[in-house]
């Protein structure tokens, strides 16, 4: 693939995170360049999700700092991070079960909807206009993800694969510059995985979105990502282009040698 | 779809409203708001039974009032105001001409409604004290006494015990009251008396329904008042007596209002309540003639409402008296508006405003000794403030004082002032004497 990778937009420095006594992350550092697809891989319990949670402010690391577009932060609220154009999807789906596909994705536009209670209550003029504008954007995403047929269905009723798409759609609706994907292909069958890969690549080069994605199996990830970070037991054991990482001793041990 | 359902429901409702309205033209209909369920049912039930039995008696013994048969219908309020309002609206439509709400809260809510509907309210011994002033409260009848007269009489009695009201100076009197309008009514009067006699008044509220009174009685114990006035209703009374026992406060020094001195209040306290005193507007026991008649004409015919042995209990008799006065009001009204006719609300009001039951009339009704003579007027809706104190001896109530009258000098101005304030808020004008003729 030929696309120009820009400068570093996200830098993670010496992040350490612990719950009580349990160390989830120890002194992790890596960076993410503009427009690249950056994968974080590692066996289950390697601390991948915790890493994402640190990046978008759900967890507050005890040590280290995250630098986003030169703005260094420690202890930022998820909203503040979101306002800086970071979106994410969730490993075990965190969709809004009670709401329709459309509404779920619409929530992604909330940051951009400003009309107050009063106008909302009247639902005329500005409020209505705003609603339709945003709706238009969302509809584009729905088309992009090929889920038009399910617009009005409550997400609860959708098959798992489609729910994953809605989750992605909700994140895309935020028009993020940095997109964090937490195991987007977990528990999918082959076709679903291929679809998901296609979407991720399309997002990456159509919207130029920078993507950080997590997977526990190396498989597909290696083909689509530009650079890979490998975590094991909360420590970074490898970082670099897919083939380097493939050759990395520790990585092989972590994966193959996990048994003996 | 929705519409269909709505219409159906509507039709149904209409049906019930109608089907229930079966009060025949030739019957004087008495709506009975009662509470036989809920927290206050032990007190509400005998009261309701008394009312019902008296109606049955009049039909069975005298064949009605000058030939007009009496009919009635009960509606369960459960002592809840909104339910009471619903009952009122329901029974109003069936030719009701007088109501006894049987609850202070409901009385307040209905007080605003009756002037439009032209139906008098009998609130014998409860309701708004100021409503004794018929000039403003044209439709309320707190016959035989209000909480102000009660408080006044209690202080008189305590004064007498001390050997003169002046002896009350420096004495401590605690008011343990149901934390509601009912319980607060007496306070202005007590404060008035406090100013006059210089006793100190300790106010101890008890949250309804009054199942938890420990701290109230610990306060009593620590304040060591010379007397405790108990202003409770329902479970609060018996609980108060038990807590008094548990904190060792002498029951002899406790004086209840007439709603705190009936069998249900002391029954399961038994010996523990021995010596406890309370006001009573009427006798208890089965000796009076009217009670005998009820046993003879109603209960022995198997028509009785409640258990036979509860006939003549304090609250039963009170219910009976209330009903009797209502019936007499109708009778009085018939004398003016035509014997053997069914009286309207307005006509019954005239009857209530012109009650003149002297000893002779009372005797005829078999009420001798049960109540004192009572005569009302357009401006005095109370008619009498006579009340006695009775004392629980561990198994029954015995009168322990002579009849008292509330002190007009004190009450009159207070009632007038309060009534005027009310009139001001409601933008009402006082009734004129000619208005009284209707």
């Amino acid at each position: 693939m030929t696309k120009k990778i820009g400068g570093v937009i996200l830098e993670v420095k010496n992040i350490s995170l612990a719950f009580g006594g349990v160390r989830a992350l120890t002194d992790i550092s890596f960076d993410v360049r503009e427009h690249e697809i950056r994968a974080i891989i590692g066996p289950n319990g390697a601390g991948k999700s915790s890493m994402l949670n640190c990046i978008n402010g759900v967890y507050q690391p005890q040590q280290g700092a995250v630098t986003l577009r030169g703005k260094t932060y420690r202890g930022m609220s998820p909203r503040q991070v979101a306002e800086m154009g970071v979106a994410r999807t969730f490993q075990n789906l965190a969709l809004f079960k009670g709401m329709s596909v459309l509404d779920n994705i619409m929530t992604g536009r909330n940051l951009r909807m400003k009309r107050g209670l009063f106008w909302q209550a009247l639902h005329v003029g500005p409020a209505r206009r705003e609603e339709t504008e945003q709706r238009a954007v969302v509809e584009r995403i729905i088309d992009f993800l090929e889920i038009q047929a399910h617009r009005k269905t409550p997400v609860g009723r959708l098959p798992y694969g489609l729910q994953k798409r809605v989750d992605l759609g909700r994140a895309l609706a935020m028009e993020p510059s940095l997109l964090l994907l937490d195991e987007p292909m977990a528990g999918m069958n082959v076709e679903e995985k291929q679809d998901m890969c296609r979407f991720i690549l399309d997002v990456n080069d159509e919207f130029g979105t920078t993507i950080v994605l997590i997977e526990h199996d190396m498989g597909v990830v290696m083909d689509i990502s530009d650079r890979v970070v490998v975590l094991d037991y909360g420590k970074k054991i490898g970082d670099g282009a897919p083939d380097e990482v493939r050759r990395n001793e520790d990585v092989i041990k972590a994966y193959l040698g996990a048994g003996h | 779809m929705k519409t269909l359902i709505t219409c159906a429901a509507l039709a149904a409702l209409q049906l019930f409203a109608a089907s229930a309205a079966l009060a025949q033209a030739k019957e004087q209909f008495f709506p009975l708001l009662v509470y036989r369920t809920g927290p206050y049912s032990p007190n509400g039930t005998p009261w309701a039974n008394g009312k019902q039995d008296y109606i049955k008696l009049i039909n069975a013994r005298d064949g009605g009032i000058n030939g007009v048969k009496l009919s009635f219908e009960e509606c369960e309020t459960g002592y809840a105001t909104d339910k009471g309002v619903e009952c009122y609206e329901r029974l109003k439509g069936k030719g009701a001409s007088v109501f006894d709400p049987q609850a202070t809260g409901i009385t307040f809510a209905l007080t605003d409604k009756v002037p439009n509907d032209k139906i008098p309210l009998i609130t014998l011994g409860y309701g708004l004290s100021a409503s004794a002033d018929g000039g403003v409260f044209a439709w309320n009848f707190p016959l035989m006494g209000s909480y102000w007269t009660a408080a006044d009489v209690l202080i008189q009695h305590l004064g007498k015990k001390e050997g003169g009201l002046d002896k009350l100076k420096g004495k401590k009197i605690a008011l343990v009251y149901h934390d509601s309008p009912f319980g607060k009514e007496p306070i202005p009067m007590l404060e008035e008396r406090q100013k006059m006699h210089g006793f100190d008044l300790i106010k101890i509220p008890v949250t309804a329904p009054g199942v938890e009174q420990k701290s109230a009685w610990l306060q009593v114990r620590q304040a060591r008042p010379d007397y405790v006035l108990l202003w409770g209703w329902g479970v609060m009374n018996s609980t108060a007596l038990k807590e008094a026992q548990a904190t060792g406060y002498p029951r002899e020094k406790m004086y209840g209002v007439w709603w705190s001195g009936a069998e249900p209040d002391v029954k399961d306290v038994g010996e523990g309540a021995k010596g406890y005193n309370a006001l009573n507007l009427n006798t208890s026991g089965q000796s009076p003639k009217v009670i005998q008649d009820i046993l003879k004409y109603v209960h022995e015919k198997g028509q009785g409402t409640g258990p036979k042995d509860e006939v003549g209990s304090v609250l039963y008799t009170r219910g009976l008296v209330i009903q009797a006065l209502a019936v007499e009001a109708v009778r009085r009204a018939q004398e003016r508006f035509g014997k053997g006719k069914v009286m309207t609300g307005e006509q019954v009001r005239w009857g209530l405003e012109n009650l003149a039951l002297d000893d002779k009339k009372l005797a005829a009704l078999g009420l001798t000794g049960v109540i004192r003579p009572i005569s009302t007027s357009c401006f005095d809706h109370q008619g009498s403030t006579s009340v006695r104190v009775h004392t629980w001896d561990g198994s029954k109530w015995n009168f322990s004082s002579d009849w008292y009258q509330a002190d007009e000098q004190i009450i009159k101005p207070m009632v007038k002032a309060a009534a005027d304030k009310y009139a001001g808020e409601k933008k009402l004008t006082r009734r004129t004497p000619q208005d009284c003729q209707s």
């Binding site: 999700s49 949670n53 759900v58 969730f90 490993q91 075990n92 965190a94 | 036989r36 369920t37 809920g38 927290p39 049912s41 032990p42 039930t45 934390d179 106010k203 101890i204 509220p205 008890v206 949250t207 329904p209 199942v211 938890e212 420990k214 701290s215 109230a216 610990l218 306060q219 114990r221 620590q222 329902g234 479970v235 018996s238 609980t239 038990k242 026992q245 548990a246 904190t247 060792g248 249900p264 029954k267 399961d268 306290v269 523990g272």
Partner: protein
């Protein structure tokens, strides 16, 4: 000093009585995740049953030994509560498995109405008496140290003792017996319970029966204090803050919570009440809970709630 101690003791006593009712809530919530709104109604129902049995027995059999009558009445009422538990499971809960909390709460409300109606219809709606011979008169301690001494209500003291005994009994039951351990297992997770080989339905019947027994004891004690009548169903309201303060799932929590709230109420009433015009114990318990929850959202002894992504 005297008054203070007196109030303190009084508070502890009422606190124990609150705990007694709170216990019923906790047991059921622990084992079936149901916030049992009907607990108050169960107290009323059980008390009515016992009071009436105690009244009817002599009439029917002419026996006169008060102890025997009370014992038999208690057993009778107990049987009734077990039947109630069984019916509740059969007719309602078994058809509402794995519904959300609110739905179940709502169902228990329906059950509450049923019990209140049925109880008063079967056993009457007057005041009835439970006389288990609790002494009514107070005793005074340290009369030489404080003038007037420190008043302790014997009735409450015995009541508190009974309550304590019940709690002890229950914890033994939970620690030592197989069923008890099974119940604890269910509390932790329902699948696990089934894997032990006890059908959930039976577990629930047992739990509700136990709660029924707790209700019966509570009803007996409160009944002999207040007289058995509708208002008994309202004392449950006093237990709500206790349950929450202690943490919905903790038996010791219910006890400590009860004592805290009992003492807090009484002291606040005695010392803040006069300033604020009295009657503040009415809300004090709840405000206390509110404050505590702000610090510990899961109550004093409740399990910590952690939400993961």
């Amino acid at each position: 000093m005297g008054p203070f101690l007196e109030t303190l003791v009084g508070g502890l006593m009422s606190g124990m009585l609150y705990s007694l009712i709170a216990l019923g809530f906790v047991l059921i919530f622990k084992a079936s995740g149901v916030f049992n709104f009907a607990q108050g109604a169960m107290v009323l129902f059980a008390a009515l049953a016992m009071a009436r049995f105690a009244e009817w027995l002599p009439k029917l059999t002419g026996m006169d030994s008060k102890v025997l009558i009370n014992v038999l009445a208690f057993v009778g009422a107990l049987a009734v509560m077990v039947i109630v538990a069984w019916l509740v499971e059969r007719l309602a809960l078994s058809r509402l498995v794995n519904q959300e909390g609110v739905t179940l709460l709502m169902a228990t409300l329906g059950i509450a109405y049923l019990l209140e109606g049925a109880g008063q219809m079967l056993f009457g709606n007057d005041i009835y008496k439970i006389d288990i011979g609790l002494p009514k008169d107070p005793m005074f301690l340290f009369e030489q140290t404080f003038e007037g001494g420190i008043l302790v209500s014997k009735e409450d003291l015995y009541a508190a003792l009974i309550a304590a005994a019940l709690v002890a009994g229950l914890s033994l039951f939970f620690q030592k017996t197989a069923t008890g351990r099974a119940l604890r297992a269910v509390a932790d997770d329902h699948q696990a319970a089934q894997s032990i080989g006890i059908p959930l339905s039976r577990i629930w019947v047992i739990v509700w029966s136990v709660a029924g027994i707790v209700a019966l004891v509570a009803g007996m004690i409160w009944g002999s204090k207040l007289g058995v009548q509708f208002s008994l169903s309202l004392v449950a309201l006093k237990a709500l803050p206790v349950v929450i303060l202690g943490g919905l799932t903790s038996v010791p929590g219910a006890i400590v919570g009860g004592l805290l709230i009992g003492v807090g109420e009484k002291l606040s009433e005695a010392y803040l009440g006069p300033m604020l015009g009295g009657g503040i114990e009415y809300w004090f318990g709840y405000v206390l809970v509110l404050v505590v929850l702000l610090v510990r959202p899961q109550g004093l002894f409740g399990e910590k709630i952690i939400d993961r992504v």
